[in-house]
């Protein structure tokens, strides 16, 4: 006997789309994160350079990674919600799987 999932949800027609954009956004963020780590290793002195509103590159890049994470998360949610509404509106899964 297999262990059943906690939530009894129907088929999510938007799943494929969500996975695709999720992976793309993950790769985008990963590239920028790798850039941060690489810059710290290859040109650490560059991180001392003041680049924006009196902040050095280390602070701007660090804060930027945090702000970017939230921005991408909001965009991802917007796209997912729109696609869920579009594809799942006729299914019971669409009715039950939304906001609570």
């Amino acid at each position: 006997m297999l262990h059943e999932p906690a939530a009894k949800t129907g088929k999510d027609l938007a799943m494929g789309y969500k996975t695709r954009i999720g992976v793309r956004m993950f790769l985008l963020y990963a590239i920028i994160y790798v850039g941060f780590v690489t810059l710290n290793l290859i040109r650490p002195v560059l991180m001392e350079k003041t680049v924006l509103i009196g902040l050095n590159l280390a602070a701007v890049y660090g804060f930027g990674l945090i702000v970017l994470a939230l921005a991408l998360a909001l965009i991802y949610n917007h796209l997912c919600t729109a696609m869920e509404k579009k594809l799942n509106k006729t299914t019971s899964a669409g009715r039950k799987g939304g906001n609570r």
Partner: protein, 641 residues
Amino acid sequence: MNIMSVSLFVLFVGMVLVLSFYFARRTRSASGYFAAGGNIHWSVNGIAFAGDYLSAASFLGICGMIATVGYDGFLYSIGYLAGWIVALFVVAEPMKRLGKYTFTDALDSRFNSKGIQLAAAISTLIVSIFYLIPQMVGAGVLVTPLLGLPHAAGVLIVGVIVIIIVATAGMTSTTYVQFLKGALLVVFSTILTVIVCNRGMTTRPDQGGAVPFYDYAVIDAADRGGELMPSDPAWRVLGSVEHAGNVFVKLFRDDKIMWCRKESGKQPGSVVLREIQAVVSRTDGTVLINGLPASPDNQLRQVGNLDAIQGKTGPQADTGPVGPFKFLNILSDPKTVIRTWKSDKFEDGPDQVTVYYPTTTTGNRIMRPGMKFKVEGTPIQRLDFISLMLALFLGTSALPHILIRYYTVPSAACARKSTIVAIAAIGFFYILTMYMGFGAMVNSVVNPADNNMSAPLLAKSFGTFLFSMISAIAFATVLGTVSGLIVAASGAVAHDIMDRFARINMNEKQKVYAGKMAAFAVGIIAIILGIIFKGVNVSFLVGLAFAVAASANLPSIIMLLFWKKTTAKGIVASITTGIVLSVGIIALSPTMYDLYGLDPKTAPIPFSNPGIFSIPASFLALIIVSLMTSKPSATLREVPK
């Protein structure tokens, strides 16, 4: 101990316990105990995520690390937050769809494999215990200044309260404790940041007038063929010790011993002896701090200050209130000079001596990586840095106590939304760590022997109320995270091992009882480990937990979702490889050798962060074993969509 601290502490603990007993009456089923019935609203779950995740490592550890090594501590903030991207884009919704109570359920959803059930449960236990240690250490650290109790008492208090929280209502009470604590932590950290900026910076910080700035003595001396002669004849040199490139000199005057560090004077060839702090442990068990017997009134002085602010010294250097950008701009200025403290240990005859001595660094160096992580060091040191950043990025989405929170919401969309709330709250908090950490660094509030208390001590410099409040929240922080960890560990024992792996026939009531007993046992283990690991930076320890989670769990999760040829045996091989390699490398690393009391240079493995090797190896093990064991029957069914 003061009445306000004790009152707020008792109030917090009381609230937590009332909440737990209130929800206990509603918790009758295994679903209620392990997953809060799957009925938590996504917004509450999002803040509870923050409460769960912003552990002692974040609040105490990161702030403490920034306070002593600057920007390198902030790298933990960046890595911890970046990990949520993996959780949101790759893991959140599939984990919700596949699992029931534990992350093992999700991994095993296609296979019904005893191997996966056991391996994933063991992995959950190991990661949870690695993560529990720093939380308990943090509890001990907090209780000493808050209640005037020893470290072990703090660990014991947290252990007992958490066992009560988890054993009464499981995930429901844990969720609301985490929600409460997450919200309070973000609010009061914001307040602390605002008042730190409002205080501004000075070269002679005096904690708002409460603790006068201490001027350390600097004694001119002459070096005559290796014999040091202080210019003031009242000082007598009793001896000196050369250690790790420093010369520490023991001086005597007026029945008091003072340790100094030999430094070059301003004139070429001249020598000065700079007063430092010292803890001397004698063979008769007595301890001297700065030459006098240790007592509540004679402790190490708090340290950390600016020697120059953008090239200015003295009263004209005072900045007055500064904005958040100006605050960081001043600190990163090459003409700003920051005084931080290092420590060293050596033997002086039969006595054990630990000295704490100041070093100065310019702002541009302290506001970029390199103080702790040797990004310009040897290839091994740079590899260690890459390894840490990799583990932080990939570890979050593999932490069992984070993953189980996806089962407390009703749908996959709610799992996604709650992750976004978590990213907002956690990201905002991590930006604040920069201000709290650097605020501690320049306000003479850092305990040189243990930087974990830097943020609460910074709050103390603004008055007892804020200190009591921040400390009580920090204590609640520990409670919230430890509760989550114990629920995860309890689920691994009672649900994964007893119910699923061993097939012990239990009704709902018995399953809840088994979960409570498991929580009790894990709680006891956590108490013992929290006492043993006293004094280690908590963020460093959590970094290791991330490495184990990223190595043991993440490859299986990713491959299960994206590679159809993944087999049950492949997953077991991946988890086993990840655990053995990551724990093995950590156990044989220089850091652990230091903890064992051995010379770190003799450690067989020259680095401390295993992720760069153990994560790829875990992926590789899964791929090779899956290809070797791939049969039509092994991939039983598609992941539900």
